[in-house]
Amino acid sequence: MYVIMTPTLQLFLIVSAALFSIGLLAALCRRHAIFILIGIEMMLAAANLNFIAFWRFAPPPHPPTGVMIAIFSIAISAAEAAVGLAMVIAVYRHYRTTNVDQYDQLKG
């Protein structure tokens, strides 16, 4: 009844690479600080996907290492997102804008 595509490692790596590239593009090109954070989160998600994919397609036996690493990484990225958002808010209070082009006080 359903057409099932056989998942291969390559497929997951391609998806992960695409996710990473989209995230990188967002982090490089968006001007809004929060979208940059979202881009970074996407890159993290791509990394997690790689962990899971390599774990899943590794030869047996399967100790749950890949999943553990992914779960830790998700937890850490949640903390990172919280810190990042807090920093965005702090920076916004200072500059009154979320446009990163105008954050140039560190200019040499």
Partner: protein
């Protein structure tokens, strides 16, 4: 063995979710498409629900499950699933039908709103999440949809986000229910720890089946009570009822959806779904967890009915009546009348949606006025609204024979009267019946009778798109009284899984006369007491409520919602503030103090090294620094301060390294 519909139950939440996603991606201007998509989605799920009811009607005690593996983690397999049984299918039809009426009504009610499409997307999302709760066969899946219901209610209560009060109400609803959900979550973890599965029914291995229940032992009481915390939050039971009246800040169709078909029904449904956990080891149908449910329900029902008497906002009165009716349902579940409680939930879904949409029609007709003291005499101006509202009011008050609420309330009272532990809940429920009739009569008199006051001067009947759903719901309310009549208790037996017999003697029972007298007495008392409400009566000014005139202290106590909000503000909220301040102080002075202490040591060291530096090494270095300064100026050009350029350079560098690596390897 399973009918095909069971394997396609996932469509029930999926269709409204898909509709919501499509509407959100359409953009603000596509108002017609948004309404058509949302209503079309509801029609589809209504059709699926009706298909889903058919197999459950054919077999007594029908139950079919469709379980699937979500993921495998080491040796553990986590499975989710969908279940179709009489409880779920009865809820499905009620939810989809009532939601459809509310959706259609919203087309008229929200016609002037600039965020019309967003509203329909959220409504669809809300209904889909609730359907997911009903068909979930795993406590975890139920919990996921449960949280989605919470999210949807947050979005909709705070729909008019530009009003600070709406934003505050949305936050309050979200946080208050989250307190209950914390208990729910803990109960779920405990249950998993004990029984090793969260599936309800799994061919004898589910946590609600004999093998799973046997593994629980004495902890079942605590698990049941923790899960009940979630139901208390969602269904607005004391002490977490405070969010429900504030949820009136949302648009009126949202109030109707929250109060009739979705949000608050979830709590009662949850208790009914995991009822085997509550009744495990029951002696005479009494367990300690069920006793807690009864007393929470009794407290809620009476307290809310009392508060409703002194409210002036048309929607707030209905909100408190919902809280009170939900308490009644909890009592029914607690004393063992599961079927009666669910039947009251179904009937309540219809007439409460009818009342809320009716109040929406009144508010729409009075140009947004919600204060019943400023209305009056609307029965001539809004005849359709008046007629349908009167049917809803009679059903809510529990007038038997022609109105569904009467029969189901009767069943609940019947079940309560036979509770072996105490008769107090029964007598308190009878008092609740009188109070319900009283406050609904007061509202009717204020809104529809008497002279026209300010807001009612230019009131007008609502358009057909709003009155037709009212009429459909009114017909549903009256029709349900035929379906739910105790003479032919098929609904009761359908839910409990026993064969039904037609027995005319159950039609007329002594208890029927008791409640007839009580409801009649309540309405008569209301008519007599409030006959001059909103008008000058001897030395009482027109704008003073008769009860306020007679008992000002009592009225103030009730009008201020028994000061429960203030109590919470003084205790729990104040405690949270105090701990936040303490943390702030700790952070500023204690931890910062430590950091400053280390900094001082560092500074001291710095002073020492500076002295060595100045005297010893400086001279030769100066020349070098001048050269370095030039180099620094050169490099500073690259230091643009633009974080994204830095990031880009890092990315390009990384890429270059990778290429180099690939080339070398």
């Amino acid at each position: 063995m399973n009918p095909g519909i069971v394997s396609n139950l996932w469509l029930l939440p999926a269709v409204p979710f898909a509709a919501a996603a499509v509407i959100l991606s359409l953009g603000k201007a596509r108002r017609n498409s948004a309404a058509v998509l949302a209503i079309g989605g509801q029609i589809v799920v209504l059709a699926i629900s009706i298909l889903a009811v058919l197999p459950t009607l054919q077999t007594q005690g029908f139950r079919a499950v469709q379980n699937f593996t979500w993921f495998t983690f080491g040796q553990q397999t986590l499975r989710l699933g969908f279940v179709l049984d009489p409880l779920a299918s009865a809820m499905l039809v009620m939810i989809t039908l009532v939601s459809l009426c509310i959706f259609v009504f919203s087309v008229g009610y929200m016609a002037d709103d600039k965020n019309f499409t967003r509203f329909f997307a959220y409504l669809s999302f809300f209904s889909g999440a609730m359907l997911g709760v009903v068909i979930a066969n795993s406590l975890l899946l139920l919990f996921m949809f449960w949280e989605l219901v919470g999210l949807a209610s947050f979005l909709l209560i705070g729909f008019w986000i530009e009003r600070p009060s709406a934003a505050a109400a949305a936050k309050k609803a979200f946080i208050t229910t989250r307190i209950g959900d914390m208990g729910f979550f803990l109960g779920m973890l405990w249950l998993y720890n004990r029984s090793g599965t969260l599936l309800f029914y799994d061919a004898g291995h589910g946590c609600l089946e004999s093998a799973g229940l046997a593994a629980l032992g004495a902890s079942a009481t605590f698990i049941a009570l923790l899960i009940f915390c979630g139901a208390v939050g969602k269904s607005g039971q004391f002490p977490l009822h405070v969010w429900l009246p504030d949820a009136m800040e949302g648009p009126t169709p949202v109030s109707a959806l929250i109060h009739a078909a979705t949000m608050v029904a979830a709590g009662v449904f949850l208790v009914a779904r995991v009822y085997p956990l509550f009744s495990l080891g029951a002696i005479n149908g009494v367990t300690s967890s069920l006793t807690v449910v009864v007393w929470i329900g009794v407290t809620t029902a009476l307290m809310a009915a009392l508060i409703a008497i002194a409210q002036a906002d048309i929607k707030r009165i209905l909100a408190y009546s919902t809280v009170s009716q939900l308490g009644l349902m909890m009592v029914s579940l607690g004393v063992g009348g599961v079927a009666a409680g669910i039947m009251h939930l179904l009937a309540h879904g219809f007439f409460k949606a009818l009342l809320f949409l009716g109040s929406g029609s009144v508010i729409h007709g009075c140009y947004g006025e919600q204060d019943i003291r400023k209305m009056g005499g609307l029965r001539r101006l809004m005849p359709v609204t008046f007629g349908t509202y009167a049917i809803g009011m009679l059903a809510l008050s529990g007038v038997p024979l022609f109105f569904s609420g009467g029969w189901t309330k009767e069943e609940i009272l019947h079940a309560t009267a036979h509770w072996p532990r105490s008769h107090a809940p029964y007598y308190l429920m009878l008092a609740g019946v009188v109070l319900t009739a009283l406050y609904m009569t007061r509202q009717m008199i204020y809104v529809f009778f008497g002279n026209r006051r300010n807001a009612a001067e230019h009131a007008h009947e609502s358009p057909g798109v709003m009155t037709v759903p009212l009429i459909v719901l009114a017909i549903g309310t009256v029709f349900l009284s035929v379906v739910l009549t105790p003479a032919w208790p098929w609904m009761d037996d359908y839910l409990t899984g026993e064969p039904a017999h037609f027995d005319i003697s159950r039609f007329i029972q002594p208890m029927l006369f008791i409640s007839l007298v009580l409801v009649g007495g309540g309405i008569a008392l209301g008519v007599w007491f409030y006959r001059k409400a909103g008008e000058q009566d001897r030395d009482r000014p027109a704008e003073v409520d008769p009860l306020e005139y007679a008992q000002p202290a009592l009225f103030r106590f009730l009008a201020n919602k028994m000061w429960i909000d203030e109590l919470y503000a003084r205790t729990i909220v104040a405690f949270a503030w105090a701990s936040a301040r303490l943390s702030d102080w700790m952070d500023r002075y204690f931890w910062d103090g430590l950091v400053r202490g280390f900094a001082a040591i560092g500074q001291l060291f710095g002073v020492f090294t500076a002295a060595v530096d100045e005297r010893g090494i400086n001279a030769g270095v100066d020349e070098t620094t001048i050269g370095a300064r030039g180099l620094g100026r050169l490099l500073a050009g690259a230091h643009s301060g633009q974080i994204q350029i830095y990031l880009g350079v890092v990315a390009v560098g990384m890429l270059a390294l990778l290429l180099l690596y690939a080339w070398l390897a």
